[in-house]
Amino acid sequence: MVHMQGAASGCILLFRRLLLGQIRTLMSTSQTKGAFRKVLDFAGDHFIVLVAIAVIAPLIAISAYIHPVSDDYAFANYFRGLNFKDFFIKMYTELGGRFFTFLFVTLLPMPLDTNMMPLTADDLLMYRIAPILFLAGLALSLHHLAGSLFQKVSQEQR
């Protein structure tokens, strides 16, 4: 948090200097050098996090263009006309023992009433949000694991 505040104040200072056109003095004052240093330190300290965000961002953005595939249509067809209980029994007795997946499948975000209606971007909105939720869920679960594994070094260890 302290690092972040330092980097933010450094950025603000640099921006203000640039805005005022004080480019010549920009590199000469010790205050500016300190600000540069803070920004570089922040980027260096959190490099792995910044890279991770940079590589994962296209994967999230591209979710806006995904479309249902054969399996999604198949399960939507299975589910149509059945209530939750009947669907679950049908899946468990005909498709296998993945009981949690069958519960999860009932959340399939596709419109089931497609009679005379093409799919539109609005119909697919929830479908396209799902990958973002999957990625976020993975990140959160790994964060939970990291919290169970590690702790900050204690005063005695220092």
Binding site: D45, I48, V49, V51, A52, I53, V55, I56, P58, L59, I62, Y65, I66, P68, V69, S70, D71, D72, Y73, A74, F75, A76, N77, Y92, T93, E94, L95, G96, G97, F99, F100, T101, F104, V105, L108, T114, N115, M116, P118, L119, T120, Y127, P131, F134, L135, G137, L138, A139, S141, L142, H144, L145, A146, S148, L149, F150, Q151, K152, V153, Q157
Partner: protein
């Protein structure tokens, strides 16, 4: 660490972008991670709430897919056995957890649908224990050769980050032998292939299952790596592992070069900027065409102009009789649909492993 691990793990778009495919596999990864996390907390402080969380996450992982079933049981059994050998106070709680998970496992294993699926096809060497074990070991060995370099690099970067953030292992973990951690980790990885090898014999492991194994491998590798080095740091007052600035910048440089050399990162950006919008337009046009067609006609749709491989992994087929072609017209209340000309990308993707496509259902 979390997002980078996820990014490095997925090779097949279905693991994220197909709702049913991702729904069967991605939650199982999350649940296995949460189970491991809850197990650590349970050992540290046995309590009803953590027990319930562990039982719930373990049960759901078992019900997600067969890989989840095997890995959840191996994890809980290993920790329970270790705690019994150590006469740890949490051992009885762990035994109760193992029994609860056994009930979930039986519910998955004895489901009538398993027999129904079994009866539909027969595979060479299916249900042969030693063949399945040998195949699991060989598949893991072959795949891990590709996974080790980038995972080792990520582990080093994560260790460097953890050291700068002054992180150490929780005391409850510091006493566990790193060798034991590695044995359990490798056991989980190898046995992740087992259900597939057992059920489908010689048929190659499905892509999305390989993604799950890679995720388990990447996460497990990083955890074992950090457990070993941060464990040493905890014991020896963190003096022995210090990364100099030069080493750090070299590490960062190597990592950036690896990312640059990887076609994966470039493909994601190209797909996002250029191919995906054109693909989206073509797909929307298909919906319009299918909706406007008569209920009695066979609809012939045009090939896609652009294929964004990051998100595209399935298409309509030129053969009306292909079982995968049935789902789309049924959904739209139409008679039949077919593709005018074959999708060469999909053919190439699954062509190397033709049974994969037919039997992955």
């Amino acid at each position: 660490m979390a997002v980078l691990t996820a990014y490095l793990s997925f090779n097949h778009p279905e693991t994220i972008y197909g709702f049913i495919g991702a729904g069967a596999y991605t939650p199982s990864m999350m649940l296995l991670v949460l189970l491991a996390s809850n197990l650590i907390r349970l050992v540290k402080r046995p309590g009803k709430q953590i027990f319930l969380f562990a039982a719930l996450t373990g049960g759901m992982a078992i019900g997600a897919n067969e890989t989840g079933l095997v890995v959840a049981n191996v994890l809980v059994f290993s920790v329970m056995t270790y705690m019994f050998l150590k006469s740890h106070p949490a051992r009885m709680t762990l035994l109760s957890l193992f029994l609860v998970l056994t009930v979930f496992s039986l519910a998955a294993f004895l489901a009538p649908g398993n027999g129904f699926r079994d009866a539909t096809k027969e595979f060479q060497h299916e249900k042969e224990f030693f063949f399945a074990l040998g195949k699991s070991i060989s598949r893991f060995s072959l795949n891990s050769v590709y996974w080790v370099p980038i995972t080792a690099l990520t582990s080093l970067l994560t260790l460097e980050y953890a050291r700068r953030r002054e992180l150490v292992l929780k005391p409850v973990l510091a006493s566990i032998s790193p060798f034991l951690m590695v044995v359990v980790f490798l056991g989980c990885c190898v046995l992740s292939y087992f259900p597939n090898a057992w059920a489908r014999g010689v048929v190659n492991t499905a892509f999305r299952t390989v993604d799950v194994v890679q995720f388990i491998f990447t996460t497990g590798f990083i955890c074992c790596f950090l457990h070993y080095f941060l464990g040493r740091a905890s014991k020896e007052r963190q003096d022995d592992i210090v990364f100099g600035d030069t080493f750090r910048y070299v590490l960062i440089g190597v990592f950036l070069c690896t990312l640059y050399a990887s076609t994966k990162a470039k493909t994601h950006v190209t797909d996002l900027v250029r191919k995906a919008p054109a693909y989206d337009k073509d797909m929307m046009a298909r919906y319009q065409q299918v909706a406007a067609a008569s209920k009695t006609d066979t609809i012939v749709v045009l090939a896609l102009r652009q294929i964004p491989v990051t998100i595209h992994f399935d298409d309509i087929y030129p053969d009306v009789g292909n079982w995968r072609n049935i789902n789309v017209p049924t959904y739209f209340h139409k008679k039949a649909v077919r593709l005018k000309e074959p999708n060469r990308y999909i053919e190439a993707l699954y062509g190397m492993e033709p049974l994969e496509k037919q039997d992955d259902k």
